[in-house]
């Protein structure tokens, strides 16, 4: 009797399991079909089939890579830039590129500094525990959200047409996006501060400015600095790209190399940019880790 009951339960379980498995398989199949259709459509729209890149696409890629790799010769490798095949010949405009690269660094640093200072004010103006006026908090938050949705490059294009070609539109673009993203992060940091020092200050009769100076800033500054440095790393890469639309820095040199179809020069400048980003990343990582160390020691 119990055997039969058990058998019935097992059969019911097996049936249920098969049903669930079948439904899962059907779902997976539909998902896969939809995905494949979308992918095919996307590849077709982006001209992957019958792309007009010449009859022999692999050959084109090979030629292109061949043109990108400089024609270096071992026997003259270390001679000056008049010797065809030397490193100095490949990097024939190195002083100019270093100058433009330094400009890019300056753009990133300035934009990060301006954006971070503005974001500090915004971060206080929309932190629930520091800003008593709800409408101000609401307005600042919406402003930050709006600025975050604007695509950087579009802003840069508009600013280049207003301010003219040069670093100024680039710095403003990066400062705006830094302001928007750091403002939100700073507000979150502010809302997580320990409220006890604030209460103690309030009890001893401190005003808002003193409360922020002695109660909030000591708690939040290491976090602010660490977020701002992370942002600096991102801004460095973004500043290199902004130059392509005329917003100053090394990107202009990239654009120039393309205009003259000097693909090997492009690779040279690209490697220079990669090296610069790498240096900034390492420096900033060091500082951030020591800040975290400070935080932990406190």
């Amino acid at each position: 009797m119990t055997d039969v009951a058990n058998g019935g339960a097992v059969a019911a379980f097996e049936q249920e399991r098969r049903r669930v498995l079948r439904r899962r398989r059907a779902e997976a199949l539909v998902g896969l079909l939809a995905f494949s259709a979308l992918l095919l459509l996307a590849l077709q729209r982006s001209q992957f089939f019958g792309a007009d890149i010449g009859g022999d696409p692999l050959g084109r890629i090979a030629t292109f890579l061949g043109r990108m790799i400089p024609d270096l010769k071992a026997e003259v490798l270390l001679e000056d830039k008049h010797a065809r095949g030397s490193i100095a010949w490949w990097y024939y405009d190195l002083p100019l590129w270093l100058r433009a690269g330094w400009q890019t660094v300056e753009m990133a640093v300035l934009a990060t500094a301006i954006g971070a200072v503005a974001a500090t004010f915004a971060g206080f103006a929309c932190a629930r525990n520091l800003m008593p006026l709800a409408p101000v908090r609401f307005a600042v938050r919406r402003l930050l959200e709006f600025l975050r949705t604007l695509p950087d490059l579009i802003v840069a294009l508009i600013l280049v047409s207003a301010f003219g070609i040069g670093p100024l539109p680039g710095v403003i673009t990066l400062a705006i996006s830094t302001f928007a993203s750091l403002g939100k992060l700073f507000a979150e940091v502010n809302e997580e501060v320990d409220s006890r020092p604030l209460e103690a200050l309030e009890a001893s009769g401190a005003g808002l400015a003193r409360k922020i100076r002695y109660g909030v800033l000591p708690q939040v500054l290491p976090n602010y600095a660490s977020y701002a440095l992370l942002r600096l790393e991102g801004n460095m890469a973004a500043a290199a790209a902004l130059g392509i639309v005329g917003a100053g820095g090394i990107g202009i040199e990239l654009q120039r190399a393309i205009t003259y179809t000097e693909f090997d020069t492009y690779l040279a400048i690209l490697l220079l940019i990669v090296g610069m980003i790498f240096l900034i990343d390492i420096t900033s990582e060091r500082i951030r880790h020591s800040l975290i160390g400070l935080e932990a020691a406190r």
Partner: protein, 272 residues
């Protein structure tokens, strides 16, 4: 002097009367930083005059943005948006396909040799910094105007970041299910299918969706260097100062980005 003050001086003299050095360093550091920033601004040739002149022009541009107008080209704009999405989608899928083997190789649990692991991950880090626009510029020059170069640029720009995330997903997978399967005598492919895949696939899929969102958000840049899509339409209109149409396209684009974010958020929530 009050007794509380005396006691404080006794317990923590440095807190009550900081040394001259401790008091002088913060303002000096701030001053040095400010001087450096002003020097940089001067070196870049940023001047209040240029700022004011440009701000006036910008104000006039912004004023002409209202009311936004589609310029009678709505169908073309929608098609361009579709093309931009197609580029983002194709680029993300290609990047995911290329990043998968790299992620496996980059996982510490697969290639345990520390020098190789460190070198590989550092290489990924280095190339993670190169923006898609930099790749797009050269691919469009190499493969001709059109979305093909743009897709390749997005894919290449995403590969290092995705590979790193995939490698971390594999490293974070729990070993125990795999060991269980091994103990039960499963063959290696079966071990991967039932031990590793169920753990890493949802994580990887959700990270790939993140990249899809970000690619769609940034795919407008590709049009600027000639890869087509919405960026091309935007650049064209900025060049002829048709800012009412620029505003229209930006609003539509931002709305589409938000819609994709919403859909992808739903899918990610289901995966988790």
């Amino acid at each position: 002097m009050s007794s509380a003050m005396e006691r404080a001086l006794d317990v923590a003299p440095k807190a009550v009367r900081p040394s001259l050095r401790a008091r002088a360093i913060p303002p000096l550091a701030v001053a040095a930083g400010l001087v450096a920033l002003f020097a940089m601004a001067a070196d870049l040739g940023l001047s209040p005059g240029a700022l004011a002149a440009g701000a006036g022009k910008l104000g006039r541009f912004l004023a002409t943005m209202l009311p936004p107008s589609d310029g009678g080209d709505l169908m073309r704009i929608v098609r361009a948006l579709g093309e931009t999405f197609a580029m983002a989608f194709a680029g993300t899928v290609l990047a995911a396909l290329a990043a998968l083997p790299l992620g496996v190789v980059g996982a510490k649990s697969v290639v345990a040799q520390p020098a190789l692991h460190f070198g590989f991950r550092r290489a990924l880090d280095i190339f993670r910094g190169v923006p898609a626009l930099v790749w797009a510029l050269i691919f469009v020059a190499a493969f001709g105007l059109g979305p093909f170069g743009g897709v390749l640029a997005l894919a290449i720009a995403d590969v290092p970041g995705l590979a790193k995330l995939y490698a971390e997903a594999i490293e974070n997978a729990d070993e125990k299910p795999i060991e269980g399967l091994r103990a039960a005598g499963a063959a290696p492919p079966v071990m991967l299918r039932y031990g590793l895949l169920p753990q890493v696939a949802p994580v990887m899929a959700s990270q790939t969706l993140f990249y899809l969102e970000s690619n769609f958000r940034h795919a407008a840049v590709l049009g600027i260097v000639g890869a087509g899509g919405i960026g091309f339409e935007l650049e064209e209109r900025i060049r002829i100062f048709a800012f009412d149409e620029v505003a229209f396209i930006v609003i539509l684009y931002v709305a589409c980005v938000a819609a994709l974010d919403l859909v992808s958020q739903r899918v990610r929530a289901r995966l988790a």
